[in-house]
Amino acid sequence: MAEADKQEIRDLEAKAQLIRRDIIEMLTEAGSGHPGGSLSSVEIVTALFFHVLRLQPEDPEWSERDRFILSKGHAAPLLYAALAERGFFPREELLTLRKLGTRLQGHPAKGQLPGVEASTGSLGQGLSMGLGTALAAKLDQRDYRVYVLLGDGECEEGQVWEAAMAAAHYKSDNLTAVLDYNGLQIDGAIDEVMSPLPFPEKWQAFGWAVRQVDGHDIPELIDAFNWAAGVKSQPAMIIAKTVKGKGVSFMEDVAGWHGNAPDAKQAAQALDEIGIIDV
């Protein structure tokens, strides 16, 4: 994976803004869905899909591809926007989100839409699937890497820690997890609802190499992904501090925007605030 130069960073930031716009437009058209956790992970997913992941959109099942599993499946609009912008399917299809007969199911469904690697939506299961895929890569002596995106509230699920233990046990250094540390879940702040903190110490204690970054800073994220690829004999965890609802003032850091779509007026304001970056 290469370093990113200034121009590429600007392009990636523009891509992130475009994806933010897609998310707002999709959710508004759908009339339901999850804006907060989609917006908080935009830079993470943009860095992955447009810089880190080795992919062939025209051959989505290419055996050497890197795998990305969206464990926090409710951020499906973000995944779909990234896949469309990366050329896995036509952008027009984005507006079919959550509608009857769509390939863009409310939560990612494997086998329906090209580029979706796993069926998620029941929280806490993606890291296990990522681990299995990573173990298979080693068995087959393939050098693809596996990336899993977790929510911070999601880390309250016991299965996350079972997977954490197993990944370290098997020294899965081809597995990288990113934790969207936005501090919120449905019922409120994670440390008030059911604290999974402190994250760095816990993941380290479970045998992972840990790095903390600003989850909205694309160069920092790319740097961390480069670091993770170099970690040996351990899985790597990137704890990305983010703001839930990032980019839309009235959604930022508000738990109530976890699972409600904006109405037309709110969407107009959101799009206005996100704007477009000229590159």
Binding site: L104, H107, A109, E156, M194
Partner: protein, 314 residues
């Protein structure tokens, strides 16, 4: 248009009321309290409300612990997670010792809508019904929900109450009397009988009206307690009509349709047609669209009645 009201909201209201009369009541949720409506109770009795976070298995185990210490725990989350994610905890920690835990789950069935298959359990009745000691209740509307929750809290032993996400048509009067284990005929007729539960009761009544316009008189029975099943009423109605249809927002495998088939095959075999979700997962769409796509409309029930009457006459 029929008036509708939300069973979930009825649950939230009655739970908060019970908090006053029942000091042993404690409520657990798994980061879904605005959706399950346990937030009503949480507001009134914060010291007896436990948000267990996104950790359903631990929630069920903790509920078992509360029951062991003499409390009456109500544990709520979406039905798919209550019965699926935490199945072994419900089985081994709650049902096996017969502990006094009330599992009151919302968002069951395909009428969850847009969230899609991952969130739409159509297996939960089957999973809960096969557990010894477990009482299984599927209320038909908000009125019955309130009564069922109260009855569940008052009885001893594990109970699973299955609630939906959308508002249901109001079909039962305030003077309706819910009793655990009692199936209630809501409409009389001798050409066929529909045993139904949950949101499908209102649709069965709708089907009965459509059929009455054609001179076919069918009975509609609300089988809100799936377990223990009111075998007596089921056999009696089957004897009277000799043509049976079941209707439920659940897989045709393992739910009400299967339960009725088990009873009738052994006791009084008559032609039976099951209206339910065929062997498939749900998908995204509006609740109404999905009920239609999955064959859960009044028209589907009418067609099943037509088939079963024909079979019973040949």
């Amino acid at each position: 248009m029929q008036k509708k009201s939300s069973p979930r909201e009825a649950y939230g209201r009655v739970l908060a009321e019970l908090g006053a009369s029942c000091p042993e009541l404690v409520v657990l949720d798994a980061d879904l309290s605005p959706s399950t409506k346990t937030n009503e109770f949480a507001k009134c009795y914060p010291e007896r409300f436990f948000d267990m976070g996104i950790a359903e298995q631990n929630m069920m185990g903790t509920a078992a612990g509360f029951a062991l210490a003499g409390k009456i725990p109500c544990a709520s989350t979406f039905a798919v997670f209550a019965t699926g994610r935490a199945y072994d905890q419900v089985r081994n920690a709650i049902a096996y010792p017969g502990l006094n835990v009330k599992i009151i789950a919302t968002h069951a069935g395909v009428s969850v809508g847009e969230d899609g298959a991952s969130h739409q359990t159509i297996e939960d009745i089957s999973l809960m019904r096969t557990l010894p000691n477990m009482t299984v209740i599927v209320p038909a509307d908000a009125v019955e929900t309130a009564q069922a929750v109260t009855a569940a809290v008052k009885m001893k032993g594990p109970v699973y109450i299955r609630l939906g996400r959308p508002a249901f048509p109001e079909i039962l009067d305030q003077d309706y009397q819910f009793k655990i284990g009692k199936a209630v005929p809501l409409r009389h007729g001798s050409d066929a009988v529909i045993f139904s539960a949950g949101i499908m009761v209102s649709r069965a009544l709708e089907a009965a009206s459509l059929l009455a316009a054609e001179g076919i008189e069918i009975a509609v029975v609300n089988v809100s307690t799936i377990k223990p099943l009111d075998e007596e009423t089921i056999i009696q109605m089957a004897r009277k009509t000799r043509a049976v249809v079941t209707a439920e927002e659940h897989s045709i495998y393992g739910g009400l349709g299967s339960a009725v088939a088990e009873v009738l095959c052994e006791n009084y075999p008559v032609p039976l047609e099951r209206v339910g979700v065929m062997d498939r997962f749900g998908e995204s769409g509006t609740p109404e669209q999905l009920l239609e796509v999955c064959g859960l409309t009044a028209k589907n029930i009418v067609a099943a009645v037509g088939r079963v009457i024909e079979r019973s006459q040949t």
